[in-house]
Structure formats: structure tokens, C-alpha cells
Symmetry: C2
Subunit: 127 residues, 2 copies
């Protein structure tokens, strides 16, 4: 498949796919005219990349981790790296939980009937 189709299938922009290749995260065969050609498993690879981006990893970190995922590279260094990232994600989840808790407290206050700094009687009447 060519880049446009991969973009459509994954929901990622063509520009982003080229960027992934530039960063060494995604490889493609080239046709005679220089156009990228992807195998079917590129779709899953893109999903994986997106997942790691969504987890807050940088392309550099993803570049370091992908060999571990791909080839099950097994060195003390790679394991340390994996655990380090896992722990970073853990800490991030903890921070997010804190923030969520804080927001929940504010929400609870704003929804409790007695909390009206401005209005409490006609909550339901407003759009």
C-alpha cells in the first residue's frame, strides 16, 4: 500500500507518516519512482507508535524502545530502559489521578445544592 492509503487506514496524516520515517520509526520500501510502499503490518506499527506518543514518549525514546518490542532485544540496558519508561508512565498516571481527584472535588462542590455563590434556586432553568 502507498502512503495515502496507510494514512487513511490509520487516521494519521501523510505528513506525520513521513515524519515517523524521518525519525526512524517506520520504514518503507520504495518503488522505482521513489514512492513509499508499505506492508500490511505497517498499520499496526503506526498504531503502536501512536500509542507510545499518546503515552507521552518522545520519538527519540520510541526509537530506542521499538527494537525491544520488535526483536525482543534482551540486554540489561534495554530492560532498564523499558522499566524506566514504564515507571515514568506510572508516575504520570499517579499525577493524572491527583488532578482528576482535584477536579472531582471542585465538581462536587459546584454540584452540591448549597454551594451557590451566585444562584442555587434555578439551576435547571438555564441553558
Amino acid at each position: 500500500m502507498r502512503i495515502g492509503e496507510l494514512a487513511t487506514k490509520t487516521g494519521v496524516s501523510v505528513r506525520a507518516l513521513r515524519y515517523y520515517e524521518e525519525q526512524g520509526l517506520l520504514s518503507a520500501a520504495r518503488s522505482g519512482g521513489g514512492q513509499r510502499h508499505y506492508l500490511d503490518d505497517a498499520v499496526d506499527r503506526v498504531y503502536l507508535i501512536q500509542m507510545l506518543y499518546a503515552a507521552g514518549l518522545s520519538s527519540r525514546t520510541i526509537l530506542d524502545l521499538l527494537p525491544c518490542v520488535d526483536a525482543k532485544v534482551n540486554t540489561p540496558q534495554s530492560r532498564a530502559m523499558l522499566r524506566a519508561e514504564r515507571d515514568r508512565i506510572d508516575r504520570q498516571i499517579t499525577q493524572l489521578r491527583q488532578a482528576r481527584k482535584r477536579l472531582d472535588e471542585v465538581i462536587a462542590l459546584s454540584e452540591s445544592p448549597a454551594s451557590g455563590c451566585t444562584r442555587t434556586d434555578s439551576d435547571a432553568s438555564v441553558a
Copy 2:
């Protein structure tokens, strides 16, 4: 307290504190010479701002939410905004859990005794 002390106490750079003010997140009294002067509760306010930044909120969003936290502003709009951000954080936590799970799988593989550089004959024992 002046800006340097606040920076030291919170671990946030002086530049960042000025930026918060620029974004309307943090206010300061000014001395005759124009120097910022903060009350003690500014420390907590900075911590709160940092927490929300850490949760992935933009300064614009934080600017919108802070009045809700401060004054318990209670409008349908503010409640909707709070819930929207809460849900966004929820989804982000879910994504992070997925990524963590994925990393855990890779870690489990790389740590299983039988997972030499290439061999994975005892896959079933790990899951």
C-alpha cells in the same frame, strides 16, 4: 515575598512565574519600583497550576478552570467544562494504562528466563 523566593519555594523558574502572570493564572502586587510581591498562598496556587499543567491542560484551559476552583463559580457552562476536562483526563489515564500494559508485556518477555536473544519456546508460561 518576591519572585525569586517564590521560584525557590515552588521549584518553578522565575521565567515560568512571569509567564503564568502573563497568561492570567497568577497575580502579584507591585511595589513602588514595579517589583512583584506575592502572598504566601501563591505557593499553593503555583502548585495547583503545575498540577494542571502536568495533567496536560493548556494555560488557556487552566485560565478557564481557575475561577471555578477559586470562587466556586457555578454555572452550567463551568460545570460542563469541569466535567469535560475530567473526562479528558480519564481517557488519558486509559491510554496510559494501555501503553503501560504493552510495555509490561515486552518486559515480561525480556525477563523470562527462556527468552534468549531469539528463542521464545516457552511463551505460554508468561502471557
